[in-house]
């Protein structure tokens, strides 16, 4: 460190400097990939933990209904990657009918399986178990897909694969977290945010003096209705039958009701929870035209077609919430929106229908924890 030897170190420094430049210009991308792979690995660990936890929770829940630990574990593991093959849409004619058929089949298989694995559960608990299993499936699927791309990226060193997964990671984690937080709600049978539709229907019916005794069961699969006399009109207030967790098939039930009351239905009103945009207030009520139903297609199609064929006006009232709120336990803000929704329904009835008309009011959503 003395100034008497001016050039002792300068060559080392120069070498270091060039080495540094070479390293980053030649291996910069490699270093970045390595960094990204590490980030994916961390996220993957988190996803794996959530998948394992939810599986454990599902096993614990199923265990209470008559089968042993080993049997349940084996059964659930076998069911984790159950798949449904979407119908061909190259030949679109009748694709919705085929899809509907497949979805029915899938639901039958699920029910059969849950009955087998939890023989001592009653039907409403069965439905909650189905829901629990579905959440477990979703988390397992997310984990397996991300793991697939992680391993593939590592094996091939493909920047494209690694980059895509790394960039989608925050969104995937957010989604997984929403489902992970929801599993407690499903296994305990608590009402979830998506249950707003059925809740509005039942509270609407009660407000006009129709209790659970007046409920007409099974107009469609797991769907029933309250015949409500309000403001001089007849309102068929339709929802899936709870308090087990099911969404039923309300779309086809609407079609059945229209067919049963040929030419008499004046308006169809659907009530549902809708995804809010970031920045919007949870529990905000919003109105619009169309069928508010988030099924894969067949049911929405059924409502739209029957409305169009019979020239029935169709409108929707939705309450906004985020994804985590929709699959997690119902938030107070959403519950507090119910009276206002009922008030808006009343407004629709008074403004756009005449006394003596018949109206279908359909509450769409999962009925878990919401009694009739």
């Amino acid at each position: 460190m003395s100034s008497t030897q001016p050039n002792d170190f300068s060559w080392i420094i120069n070498l270091l400097f060039f080495g540094f430049i070479m390293l980053f210009s030649l291996y910069g991308a490699k270093i970045q990939m390595w960094q990204w792979l590490n980030q994916i690995k961390m996220g993957l660990g988190e996803l794996g933990r959530m998948a394992d936890d939810s599986k454990q929770k599902a096993i614990d829940t199923f265990k209470e209904f008559g089968r042993g630990q080993d049997e349940v574990t084996k059964g659930i593991e076998r069911w984790l990657d159950y798949f449904t093959i979407m119908p061909v849409d190259l030949d679109p004619a009748g694709v919705l009918r085929r899809l509907d058929h497949l979805l029915d089949e899938r639901r039958d298989r699920f029910q059969e399986y849950v009955r087998e694995l939890a023989p001592n559960a009653n039907s409403s608990v069965d439905q909650n178990l189905e829901n629990t299993l579905e959440v477990t499936q979703v988390l397992s699927l997310i984990f397996r897909v991300v793991r697939h791309y992680y391993i593939l990226g590592k094996k091939t060193g493909s920047q494209l694969i690694i980059m895509q997964v790394q960039m989608q990671m925050p969104e995937l984690l957010r989604m997984a977290k929403a489902y992970y937080d929801a599993i407690g709600a499903f296994s305990d049978g608590k009402p979830i945010g998506d249950g707003l539709g059925p809740l509005v229907i039942s509270k609407f019916a009660r407000q006009y003096g129709v209790s659970s005794e007046g409920y007409v069961q099974e107009i469609g699969r797991e769907v029933g209705y309250y015949p409500v006399e309000a403001e001089g009109r007849t309102i068929y207030a339709l929802r899936a039958t709870g308090p087990g967790g099911t969404v039923g098939k309300p779309g086809f039930a609407v079609k059945t009701l229209v067919d049963q009351n040929k030419g008499e239905i004046a308006r169809i009103i659907t009530v549902d929870a809708a995804l809010k945009l970031e920045g919007e207030e949870t529990g905000r009520i919003s109105e619009g035209t169309g069928a508010a139903i988030g099924d894969p297609g067949p049911e929405k199609h059924a409502i739209e077609e029957t409305a169009t064929e019979n020239g029935i006006g169709i409108e929707a009232i939705v309450v906004k919430e985020d994804e985590a709120g929709a699959v997690g336990v119902m938030e107070k803000k959403v519950l507090d929106a119910v009276p206002e929704v009922i008030e808006r329904i009343r407004e629709v009835i008074l403004k756009r229908t005449k006394p003596g008309d018949k109206i279908i009011l359909a509450g769409i959503g999962n009925t878990i924890g919401i009694g009739i």
């Binding site: 460190m1 100034s3 030897q5 001016p6 170190f9 300068s10 420094i13 270091l16 937080d181 407690g184 305990d188 049978g189 608590k190 009402p191 249950g195 809740l199 039942s202 509270k203 009660r206 659970s212 709870g242 308090p243 920045g279 949870t282 709120g325 997690g328 336990v329 119902m330 938030e331 107070k332 803000k333 959403v334 519950l335 924890g369 919401i370 009694g371 009739i372």
Partner: protein, 122 residues
Amino acid sequence: MGLLSKVIGAIISGAGAFILFYGMSDPNMSWVWFFIGLLVISIGFQMLTAGGKQKAPKPPPPTITEVKCDNPTCDFKEIRDFQKGDYVLKPLDAKCPKCGSKMTIQGVYIVKEEDEKDKINV
């Protein structure tokens, strides 16, 4: 851990800046001091910024069951913790302590408190 590591980080960063600044005035060794200074600053900054992102996940808020008296003229309302088997619109066996009417569960919900820090106001 949080505050202490931030203080140490700040001190190390300051020391790095000091080395960087005064090392430059040494004509022969300025390169060496430059690198050492940069290294020390980066270590200091690492300590200063680390840990901020890792928040302990908050436990989910408790689920609340709201029970109301069926008698429209009675305003009795009970708020209690969720019990397994509760569902909305479940008629209860317990009678209203105020007027003796039947009671029904009118709501099962959570109260999500939004973190003001996480909220982005536009």
